[in-house]
Symmetry: C2
Subunit: 296 residues, 2 copies
């Protein structure tokens, strides 16, 4: 479940609630494409903006419609109490694994984050992926802390925020982390722009935003990297550079949500206010990029 | 309500719920001391970690027990939908004003934050204080954005995260912001270490962590500054320098919560996990500082 291509779908919604029918279609699309796992309620799934009940419902729908594709559910929240409840809900819904980020309001210490993962992993009967994303959680993992957390029961993967652009440096980064964690814990790259380089450098998984909407291109990159065709993987990713540039400037969520709106795959708007999709000139630019890349 | 000393009490709690009786005692203590307002559910009140129901209850208790001291209630949340509900709850509870921070998970744009304040201020029938605290919200207000938001209906104050340590620079900072906002909007300083300098520099309010637990010393600083005794205000604040140093290193919430535990004013623990109060050597150091400063 924590290797290969993990697709992170949007949770299409408006101020009244979740667009369940459209979410189901996104999940069916991922199943049909043959991704290796679906991660519902990742950052791309706007987990942090949903109620407990909405999150349970999204996890249930993902499991019901993903067929034989395993479903991972995001269980992050500010408070340990809430994370424990969300972990129970995700397991009840049938998720095969969970994803946990140390979401913060008060800046957290290493000791506090370890305490969170310790409490949650004790409570679980499914494997957990550690979600390292300083851009949204504002917590910076040290490698030493990754090493300690990776020893906890049920920890099965670490989702790292990216790798250096240089292939040698990327391999050195992955090797360094690998030396600190048990053999059964996989390393997955996120930050789609880094994915080809990360997979080529030995990451076993790609936790992917673009795969949640356009799984084919992400599968092509992944399967090439897995087959040792490093140059092909890098080349396919390079074609998407205009998209990665927008991800960097506006955040991958806004870009992928706007792409989904433009392609009619979700209703407009589909993000939780105050977050908005792209408007005006940049929206038109994205439309042109999608046409040119034949992403539909 | 948005001038003078605004005291930010802790919301004492454990993993089972809020310690209502102890919260009421903290509020009564503030009323007896004669602070100018109470801000329940500020960052010090752990608002971001509480459920909607818990927040309604805390606002109600604060209003019921603050006597004639006006109560401001924090209404921040990640999602506009939730902020609007919390605003309704705060008003129903009898809060005289609200405090709103642009809490973020996805990094917000200026346009998105303006949209949030626009939607919320339209819905209000009480005044609002704009809560600018990049350390917890991870959003940096520009002065231009402060100027735009301050024009919205019901905006009555801006809580700024601090002022430069140099008195001249502090005055220049306050004057610069003042020139961009309507006359009826007050500027309040937060970051307790900056308070004396901020009040001396023309801030009309101090949004104070320490006043939530030890109102007397904060009142002495405030009343001196208000009377034009700048040197006395600075001197009183300077005596608290060892406390301000701990605030900087460990976060004011952990320090004030630990102080409350040490003084028996709340039960131990009193913070929402994963956040923990100070332990070990630094806890002992804080106890010694409280003794030396005769804070009880």
């Amino acid at each position: 479940m924590f290797s290969g291509l993990s697709a992170f779908p949007l949770t299409p919604l408006n101020e009244k609630g979740i667009d369940e029918a459209v979410f189901v279609r996104l999940i069916e699309r991922l199943n049909a494409a043959g991704v290796d796992s679906v991660c519902a309620l990742g950052s791309t799934g706007s987990y942090a903006y949903l109620t407990r009940h909405e999150r349970l419902r999204v996890a249930q729908l993902a499991v019901q419609h993903a067929g034989d594709v395993p479903v991972i559910a995001g269980i992050g929240a500010l408070r340990t109490r809430d994370v424990l409840e969300l972990a129970q809900d995700a397991q009840k819904a049938g998720a095969g694994g969970v994803l946990l980020a140390p979401v913060s309001y008060q800046k957290l210490s290493d000791d506090e984050v370890f305490g969170l993962f310790d409490a949650v992993t004790r409570s679980l009967s499914v494997p957990l992926c550690v979600y390292d994303n300083p851009a949204t959680t504002h917590f910076e993992f040290s490698d030493e802390l990754h090493g300690r957390i990776a020893q906890l029961p049920n920890v099965a993967s670490i989702k790292i925020p990216g790798v250096p652009a240089d292939p040698e440096a990327a391999r050195a980064r992955v090797d360094l982390l690998r030396a600190l964690i048990p053999r059964h814990v996989t390393i997955g790259v996120s930050g789609d722009a880094f994915a080809a380089t990360g997979l080529n450098a030995g990451c076993e998984a790609w936790y992917s935003v673009i795969a949640g909407l356009f799984p084919q291109i992400a599968l092509a990159i992944t399967r090439n990297a897995q087959a040792g065709n490093a140059r092909e993987a890098t080349g396919l990713s390079g074609r998407l550079a205009p998209l990665w540039a927008l991800f960097l400037q506006y955040g991958s969520l806004r870009v992928i949500a706007t792409a989904a709106e433009l392609r009619g795959l979700v209703a407009t708007p589909c993000l939780p206010l105050p977050v908005k999709s792209l408007q005006g000139e940049v929206r038109q630019r994205l439309a042109a990029i999608l046409d040119e890349l034949e992403l539909a």
